[in-house]
């Protein structure tokens, strides 16, 4: 039940994965384990194929997405690094978040003049997201080479911040209606 996704794919635990070779490996393992290949086999083998394919699909879904992959690695190797669920405001963003919330309130009260302010806040946060993703990519590579707790902790902080900003951008988009 608790088989490691990386070992199922026959690879070392890593954060910076090559998506193309992961996909190739996914296809190979699908050809090996998909229930379609076991339709004429005994029930016990069919069950094994079903279990393995479910695991394969769950693993591929998790590993192909950088954020989900990182959460998975943290859940297995980052003991004590709790998922912040993006609830806490990253301290360096306090001021910008405050301003965006003001704009949101004004827009909600029918003040259309707050739109440009909200739009530029959204643009800023979207740009910040790309920066975080680039930072994450660097931390991913570092962890793959050193595998230390300090790097995982940095990944955790970046992921929490990322989650918070994604929520901000979504809220702004919802309010702006486009």
């Amino acid at each position: 039940m608790n088989r490691d996704y990386f070992s199922f794919f026959g690879i070392e635990p890593q954060l910076a994965l090559d998506p193309i070779s992961l996909q190739q490996r996914f296809y190979e393992l699908s050809r090996q384990w998909h229930p379609d290949r076991f339709a004429r086999r005994p029930a016990s083998e069919q069950m094994e194929a079903l279990d393995n394919t479910a695991l394969l699909n769950d693993a591929f879904r998790t590993l192909k997405d950088p954020v989900e992959r990182a959460e998975y690695v943290l859940s297995r190797y980052g003991r004590g690094l709790e998922d912040g669920a993006g609830k806490q405001v990253p301290p360096d963003l306090l001021e910008e978040v405050f301003e965006m919330n003001m704009a949101l309130d004004e827009l909600k009260e029918g003040d259309a003049s707050a739109r440009p302010q909200l739009e530029s806040a959204r643009a800023n946060f979207t740009a910040l997201l790309s920066e975080i993703d680039a930072d994450l990519e660097r931390q991913f590579l570092r962890w793959d080479s050193v595998k230390n707790a300090e790097t995982l902790s940095a990944v955790r902080t970046l992921l929490n911040k990322r989650k918070y900003i994604v929520n901000l951008v979504n809220t702004a988009t919802l309010a702006l209606g486009n």
Binding site: S30, H34, P35, D36, A39, D58, R61
Partner: protein, 616 residues
């Protein structure tokens, strides 16, 4: 010995057929030496209309003959039953008004239809259609067919899939796989082409709409995302036209025909004919005659298009959502495949072309392509097709009810199947011995906005203080898109009893009972058919004898031969009206033996006459 080595290996292996169980038409296909082929019915037509007529005092009829019955006995004739699969009465309130058949009381969780003075669930009616396809395949292939792949709309939920599987079981078919219709179509297109790239399949059938986006690479057909509406299709176009025509007639004739089943069905036929014509011509007439009065209304393609535009537009939002889910833009779509009869409508084609900016593929008949693809999938399962593999997804998110009517999603839509999720549950009260889990499907956050799938009752938990038992529950969506649930106590590792209460559809016991009934019925049917066939054969031989008695050869027979023939003939007549086909066949054989000399003599006479003829 051993001069020839004939390989009979394949003919001994059971054949797996592919079935497209459609809203309007159904088809069966098989893989013939690597190429999928549709199988024609007795009338030569591979398209079996999904219509079942169940008269009060006679056997049910299926397909083209049932279409005729739709006009003469509409109240006992069921069509578009697919729209009722996995549904409760409340789901179909609106369209029921236009159906000529009745829905029985107490159809909240399973719809029961009344026909011929009896009641049938949707899976039972679908089983009639499946059994007809099974018979057609058996007659064509000359061997028993017991295993099938059946297609379903990609957007079918768990209950609708389960209902389809139940229908197969009731019809005596082991359903090896349910395959999504758009995916099947992609398989049919991809079979002989080493295609790479991204393909969108737009499938607008009689009652359902599906959109799927697939990635093709090295024989792998990976579905990236799917979407649709299981309640949108050609039937809706018909119903729109029907409403217009009924209103028109009401104002023209001063009579409301909508309560007359027969009139409505005739008018429905007329609007469908007009709809079909408008796919090739710019203008036509809806023509309808009733009780000596005639109605003819001009219908232009322009008017028709204006009428159906909202419905066609309704298919575009799921397409955009599907592209977003698949993380592709229209430019990334290499090809578009059209499936379903409604894609013959020029407005539909234009809308698809505009949206995906690619010319749609129509090389394969949109009515047959799904069945052909199902046959390919049947080949994959039987091992006949080795290099192709289909990786499909679940169309709807799976969630469990949590506090306050909220849903916690455990498997997200567009996850490749089989997919699983494991959750831990515990008790809330001291000594609690069971835990109830409510499972739903849908994308919304609240229980009331999603489709209830089932309640799973974890039973027989040892009484312990609250929160102490730890029960792991594994939710597994299998390759058919159907949910399986298993549970175990984590401390003891003991498997937990799970009682399933489906919200819509039949329980396993109910299906079992239907299977037993249908086998009894099928055996009776089979008996009757054999008797009928034996009588037909008896008719043939007796007619031939009648003719031979006028031949000179008959008089050249010895007295003994003639009386032997007479005796055998009399004995056949005696058993002819009985219901023992073995006895009839035995007496036919006896008569055959008795007339052996006669036949030889006749042959000689014929040869002699012919020889004489050549001399002259």
């Amino acid at each position: 010995m051993g001069t020839f080595q004939i390989d009979f290996g394949d003919s001994a292996a059971p054949v797996v057929v592919g079935i497209d169980l459609g809203t309007t038409n159904s088809l069966v296909a098989y893989l013939d030496a690597g190429a999928p082929r549709v199988i024609p019915g007795a009338d030569g037509d591979p398209l079996v209309p999904s219509v079942v007529s169940i008269p009060a005092q006679a056997d049910h009829i299926v397909g083209n003959p049932a279409c005729a019955a739709l006009l003469t006995s509409p109240a006992d004739t069921i069509y578009s039953v697919k729209r009722l699969m996995g549904k409760g009465a409340a789901d179909v309130q609106d369209e029921v008004k236009l159906f000529p058949f009745r829905i029985a009381a107490g159809s909240e969780s399973v719809i029961r239809l009344e026909a011929g003075g009896r009641q049938f669930t949707a899976p039972e009616v679908s089983a009639f259609i499946l059994r007809q396809l099974k018979l057609n395949a058996e007659a064509h292939l000359g061997r028993a067919v017991t295993q099938a792949v059946i297609t379903v709309p990609a957007y079918f939920n768990d209950a609708q899939r389960q209902a389809t599987k139940d229908a197969g079981r009731i019809a005596g078919l082991e359903v090896l796989r349910l395959v999504n219709e758009p995916t099947a179509a992609a398989l049919a297109y991809g079979i002989d082409k080493r295609k790479q790239g991204t393909v969108a399949v737009y499938d607008l059938g009689g009652g359902t709409f599906d959109i799927s986006i697939l990635k093709l690479q090295d024989g792998i057909f990976e579905v990236l995302a799917t979407g649709g509406d299981t309640h949108l299709g050609g039937d809706d176009f018909d119903n729109l036209l029907l409403r217009v025509a009924l209103e028109d007639i009401a104002s023209e004739w001063g009579t409301d025909l909508s309560s007359s089943g027969e009139a409505v069905q005739r008018l429905r036929r007329a609007v469908i004919d007009a709809k079909h014509v408008l796919s090739t011509l710019p203008v036509t007439h809806i023509r309808f005659a009733w009780e000596g009065r005639e109605y003819a209304r001009e219908l232009t393609r322009e008017n028709f298009e204006r009428l159906i535009t909202p419905i066609v537009d309704g298919t575009l939002q799921p397409c955009r959502q599907c592209m977003a889910d698949a993380k592709v833009t229209p430019e990334k779509i290499d090809e578009v495949v059209l499936v379903g009869g409604s894609t013959r409508i020029p407005l539909v084609r234009a809308a698809v072309k505009r949206l995906f900016r690619a010319r749609p593929h129509t090389e394969l008949d949109p009515d047959k392509v799904v069945a052909l693809g199902a046959a390919v999938q049947a080949g994959i399962l039987s091992g006949a097709v080795e290099d192709q593999l289909l990786l499909d997804v679940t169309p709807l998110s799976l969630g469990i009810e949590t506090m306050g009517g909220l849903i916690s999603k455990i498997i997200h839509r567009n996850s490749t199947i089989p997919a699983s999720a494991t959750e831990t549950f515990t008790t809330a009260v001291d000594g609690q011995t069971n835990v109830l889990i409510h499972v739903l499907q849908g994308e919304r956050e609240m229980v009331r906005d999603c489709r209830s799938l089932a309640r799973f009752d974890l039973k027989g938990i040892d009484p312990m203080p609250a929160g102490l038992p730890k029960i792991e529950v594994r939710f597994l969506i299998d390759a058919n898109g159907i949910l399986n649930v298993t549970a175990w106590e984590t401390r003891t590792g003991k498997e937990q009893t799970v009682e399933i209460k489906p919200s819509y559809g039949l329980t396993d016991d109910q299906v079992e009972r239907m299977i037993v009934e249908s086998i009894d019925k099928a055996e009776a049917d089979f008996q009757e058919r054999q008797v009928r066939e034996a009588r037909v054969e008896a008719d043939h031989i007796m007619a031939a004898l009648e003719k031979a008695r006028r031949n000179d050869a008959y008089y050249e027979l010895s007295e003994t031969d003639r009386s032997a023939i007479q005796k055998a003939h009399n004995e056949l007549l005696l058993v002819y009206h009985g219901d023992d086909h073995h006895l009839i066949m035995e007496k036919i054989e006896q008569l055959n033996q008795a007339t052996h000399t006669l036949a030889e003599n006749m042959m000689n006479t014929a040869v002699n006459t012919a020889l004489k003829g050549t001399k002259i």
